[in-house]
Symmetry: C2
Subunit: 454 residues, 2 copies
């Protein structure tokens, strides 16, 4: 029998998260105050996040210990399996060896609980009673609901009204874990009421939902806010993925030449890739790490490296990032998790320094890749995950053309059980390409009045 | 850290299925011809099933070897994890130790691929080009689609029209694995056309869908039919579950006093329980095995033991079974997999001989159990699975009342990702109890003109 699945025991769940900042040749530039544009310190985050997470946001320690209680909850689904993709290799008739790490085995169905669990834990440690967040498609909201339920913390999710109406099942999932889900804009916040007064029929946006969740945290002593990607501490928590994958690759006596992961805000990619980049730093390895983004939201492949806001309204600190401009509105692709205008600061600096690469795929290419994968490997991937598959397939085909064998590893970050509508649209021919013209991108970037980076 | 999850390596996937018939003190009575009512042999099944499965249907060998290629596909998701339910134990404040085997990690989300994979394999071996089946809610149809896709066999699924319209996502899942899904009744069969001519607006029924799938197999040389429960070979394949569970319990140095599984046609229950019953037979153990059924379809707890048809129309052989009568129409509960009027012959004989037990739970009790489980263990169970949880909770509460500790193991046969509508209904207070009166049951049984069993 083929050795298809490489597993680790519960005892092999890593005991520390890896902080890549310690190893970066050029550290990320400091955040700037949104108005004064002067560098700001971590204390600016205190109204929104518990102290321990703020410490993690700025620490330069190479390793951060994972609390036992967090590892205990991780063990519900971790270590996750790493697969040798024999079926996909055969379907592509490629000399490449393909592996994937499967994060869809978590109860919420994606990699997101890797960070929602420690975030809920640290909030609980500091006596916080309620955590608020926003969610678009619902992946992050359900991961946070799952985590808060475990620590008996109230969870308040502001869900973009359009998604709330069109994706009722993600909402029910959050309810099942005890979360309160509000269609955003809602009557529960000043920000929501203002917008509703102006336009009672608005379908909402992620920007509005963020404003509501942040307002609740900023105006209530016992309430904090949680974010599912972009920030350093989120990336830190996700490195559990890559550390397990390194151990699993070593277990089968192999090591990837190429590591690939989907890219939204950066935590998915950071999670798998950073522990392999550590091997480049520490052991002189030369592993290529490629971030996969949609051509409809190509901040890494076509964006600009400069200071920009994390939100649409311009309330967050200014961060040094690859961005399409904070006013950029991506096409409504099914991979909702990849529709973010910018990239987290660590990944941006790494790309600037050419320590990682990026690749973009259009909407049709990724669904072709997703169906090829489902039919050859048996697992139906989430639309976000299909982007990593598309890059892996492209690299495997290059191997075939060049007649060489490389070892490719990608992050299968979630299953598609809640995304069947996307596949239905694909089979019905209702998926469109969404290629951006240079004019569209330049226009959005030209609007920026934020500081440039020399 | 607590040892929450007991795992096995790929190499520990069992190499044989366990055939309980070899150990039964009283063997099941023979099937009878539907018209002559004379005992019939396995050759009667030849138009519908490949020879190897017919051999497995009647074999008295204690062990049946699992082909390497089947074990190879099993390894996509097997061995499945066995969990110690620390969270549920705490929520119930019980001295009982609770374990569960989790079958929802399969790509189709339930235990069904344990049998769809070998069924597709044996059909492929015998040169079959197409397999037909019926499906209600879609669990079995998607499991068969998954398996046929792997062996490059055409898969034709007749899906009850009402489900086809109300559960489009299960259909898309089957399409993603390349299956053709027809709303039943369809124009593709004589049986379907007849019914449509009479009533073009019918929403279909499982009985009609069976007739269509069977007709296609019976009238095409290269086409066979597949069934997802009830039959002996289906139960045989599912024993992979219990064999792994025995090994996992031994690994933690524990052994269940009570083994519990949901009951529809019997393969779910057989899968977990039979390998533990083997320990009763072979090693003189005294493990109680309890089948959990809905009070709305209580064939084991309130049915009669006699010959009855497997289908509604009365075309199948007469089988010795616990039954509510083949015309019994259960209430439309969300646990569609448990809405079958009868029980498979092996389980029926075991119950008759008091070697197993049965327990029934109403619709509200099971959703309460499901939500308690989701909030204490993190995994949202399928409606079918909540029945096993309800029995486990009842037994754990008995332990608390009596101040004794027992070890309880149940089969968490699938996740609820495709059943969020059921939870939505539960939270909205739209779930009703469906208790049957004795009159209703007696009326259905009184209609039977099938042979009684002395």
């Amino acid at each position: 029998m083929k050795n298809r699945k490489i597993t680790l025991s519960e005892q092999e769940i890593p005991e520390k998260w890896y902080n890549i900042i310690a190893d970066m040749p050029n550290k990320p530039l400091p955040p700037l105050h949104p108005e004064t544009k002067e560098p700001i310190g971590p204390e600016a985050l205190a109204p929104l996040f518990p102290m321990e997470l703020i410490k993690q946001e700025v620490t330069t320690d190479k390793w951060v210990e994972i609390p036992d209680e967090v590892r205990n909850i991780y063990s519900i689904w971790r270590p996750t399996p790493l697969y040798r993709a024999y079926g996909l290799e055969k379907a592509l008739d490629t000399p490449a060896k393909i592996y994937y790490k499967y994060e869809g085995v978590s109860p919420a169905g994606s990699h997101k609980p890797n960070t929602s669990v420690p975030q809920a834990y640290y909030n609980k440690q500091e006596g916080i009673k309620r955590i608020t967040t926003e969610t678009g498609a619902g992946q992050w909201g359900s991961a946070l609901a799952f985590a808060c339920n475990h620590f008996d913390i109230e969870c308040e999710v502001y869900m973009v009204k359009l998604s709330y109406q069109h994706k009722p099942y993600r909402k029910v999932m959050m309810n099942t874990w005890g979360a309160n889900v509000f269609p955003s804009p809602s009557e529960a916040t000043e920000a929501g009421r203002k917008i509703l007064a102006k336009d009672p029929n608005t379908t909402g946006s992620l920007g509005i939902a963020i404003s509501e969740a942040v307002e609740r945290a900023a105006t209530n002593e016992d309430t904090k806010y949680a974010l599912g990607s972009v920030l350093n501490h989120v990336k830190l928590h996700q490195t559990i993925i890559g550390q397990e994958a390194v151990a699993q690759m070593e277990k089968v006596g192999d090591m990837p030449d190429i590591v690939i992961a989907p890219f939204g805000g950066g935590s998915n990619f950071a999670g798998l890739a950073f522990p392999f980049l550590r091997l480049n730093f520490d052991e002189g390895k030369n592993i290529r790490c490629i971030a996969s983004e949609p051509t409809s939201c190509p901040k890494l492949t076509r964006g600009v490296f400069r200071y920009d806001y994390g939100d649409t309204v311009g309330m967050t600190p200014l961060l040094p990032m690859y961005t399409l401009g904070h006013n950029f509105v991506p096409a409504p692709i099914h991979a909702g998790g990849l529709r973010y205008h910018g990239a987290g600061v660590i990944v941006s600096q790494l790309l600037k320094d050419k320590l990682i690469e990026a690749s973009a795929h259009d909407n049709i290419e990724v669904f072709e890749a997703g169906v090829t994968f489902a039919r050859s490997e048996g697992i139906i991937p989430a639309p976000e995950a299909t982007h990593g598959i598309a890059t892996a397939i492209a690299e495997a085909q290059k191997c075939k053309e060049e007649g060489i064998s490389k070892t490719i590893l990608f992050n299968l970050c979630g299953h598609g059980n809640f995304d069947m509508k996307a596949y239905e649209d694909y089979f019905a021919g209702n998926i469109v390409k969404h290629e951006l013209t240079s004019e569209e991108i330049n226009r959005s970037i030209a609007e920026l009045d934020t500081p440039e980076i020399k």
